[in-house]
């Protein structure tokens, strides 16, 4: 084989110069930016359609109730258990640090503020994305793959109105409630560690917390965060499901994308919102 004449093989193309490489890199980057922009535009149009077709979700609230059950109620166990663990860890770590400065009594404040401002909304949203978001994507994607959405359309029923919008609103309503439950259970976890195990005074644990937590600055901002996360995660979940290629790989890929994209978007939004809300402190 090695001795065969090589005349049939074309000469190698010239090696690209520095300019050529640069140009290729720029083209690559430009193509990527364009694709991202096109996809964002597509999601934006989809979001408008979801809102436009939301009438039936509220006229027949049973449709949304059902989705609140699937997205919210079925997430309760994982949210509560995780909240308890996170609160207990906060209690342990917080006590360890605070006791060095002789301010262990501020443990209640530390646990409550960490949970209400940050960990409650963020961790609950991350859990919500992997528990409920992935399920929403998989369900809608499979309905598409098995032609259920096409069948609906042929029955003169708009799938965005009947399938997508109720799931969207179910998620948007569930998310702040789940974050609140996460924080509440987490504070209880901090109480278990701080008061029941370490032996801090129960009265000062609660009263310090009560005087330090501000209704507007802490509680309301946390609720706003969890609401924004709820909109983002659920929109990503329904979009990925609706947009999935109607095959097995298509649905599994879309489910993965829901979890990964949601996590990135939650954390990025958290940076932005935290900067806007708490920069004066």
């Amino acid at each position: 084989m090695a001795t065969e004449p090589q005349t049939a093989i074309e000469p190698k193309a010239d090696r690209p110069g520095v300019l050529g490489t640069l140009r290729a890199a720029l083209e690559h980057l430009g193509g990527w930016v364009l694709r991202v922009l096109i996809r964002l535009g597509y999601i934006g149009r989809f979001a408008v359609a979801v809102v436009r077709f939301s009438g039936p979700s509220f006229a027949r609230f049973g449709l949304v109730m059902r989705e609140i059950y699937f997205a919210g109620v079925l997430s309760l166990v994982i949210i509560s258990v995780s909240g308890l663990f996170v609160g207990m860890v906060l209690g342990l770590q917080g006590y360890d640090t605070l006791v060095r400065y002789g301010s262990a009594n501020a443990l209640g404040t530390l646990v409550a503020l960490s949970l209400l401002r940050e960990l409650g909304p963020v961790v609950a949203a991350l859990l919500f994305a992997s528990r409920a978001g992935s399920a929403i994507t998989a369900e809608i994607g499979l309905m598409k793959a098995t032609e259920q959405l096409a069948a609906m359309e042929m029955m003169a029923v708009e799938p965005i109105a009947r399938v997508v919008a109720p799931r969207f609103w179910g998620g948007v309503i569930s998310m702040p409630l789940l974050a609140a439950i996460f924080s509440a259970v987490g504070i209880f976890g901090g109480y278990v560690v701080g008061v029941l195990i370490v032996g801090l005074d129960s009265g000062s644990f609660w009263s310090q917390m009560q005087s330090a937590v501000d209704l507007r600055d802490d509680l309301l901002n946390g609720v706003i965060k969890s609401f924004v996360f709820g909109v983002a995660v659920t929109l990503i979940a329904v979009f990925e499901g609706y947009d999935a290629a109607p095959t097995a790989e298509g649905v599994s890929g879309a489910t993965t994308r829901t979890v990964v994209t949601s996590a990135l978007v939650i954390l990025a939004l958290d940076v932005v919102m935290t900067a806007l809300m708490f920069r004066g402190i």
Binding site: E139, M143, E147, E153, A156, R162
Partner: protein, 269 residues
Amino acid sequence: MTGQTVVQLTDLAFGYERDRPVLAQINMSVRAGQIVALMGGSGCGKTTVLRLIGGVVRATAGEVRVFGDDVAAMDQAELYRMRERLGMLFQFGALFTDLTVFDNVAFPLRERTNLGERMIRDLVLMKLQAVGLRGASQLMPHQLSGGMSRRVALARGIALDPQLMLFDEPFTGLDPISLATIGTLVRELNDALGASSIIVTHDVQESLNIVDYLYFIAAGRVVAQGTPDEVRASEEPFVRQFVRGEVEGVVPFHQPANDYRSDLLAADR
């Protein structure tokens, strides 16, 4: 049998991508009361014809008229009104997997009418009785066999008493008994509703028994047509190949491709 024209396709052309036409020139018509079979190899565009009739996709050339109206000229609301008179049975039933059999059949009634629950209950039981599955009304779709799913989908498809039924490969993957059951049901329901039907199918023998007229599609065109008797007697090569199920004939076994030898040699480079 020869009433007014329900579906009229005139010089219809369509492609999902610009440079790859699926349908080149399709002419066919369905009259009131008729069951028409649409036959052709896999991937020749049969499902696409049904989607064009339902207005899911729009023709690139030619005209689709359903109930006398041009589908391309309809806006969303008109399209949905037209679809209310249309029943479509998807290839694998496309039942809603999160709803019971009863709720599946009730779905179009609940979504598209203002009937009360008592009335809906009566109608659903009547439709399920018609396909012989009243006893299965509380089962979930995953508990049904292929033939039963197809029958539930049929009951759902006729829930609004459509004037035109579209069936996408209703016989595929069924045992001979289920197949004959569906075939008989299609004929009976069509005649009971006074509707018209288009059946996309590969099953020549079953369709020769139940349909009034057949169209054969290949390469985006209608290559043969006729009544069952004409088809049985036909000497046209394409029809004979299809009716007898021969591998090689006027329909090539191979997809168009590069020269076999040069393809293999290219792999050695």
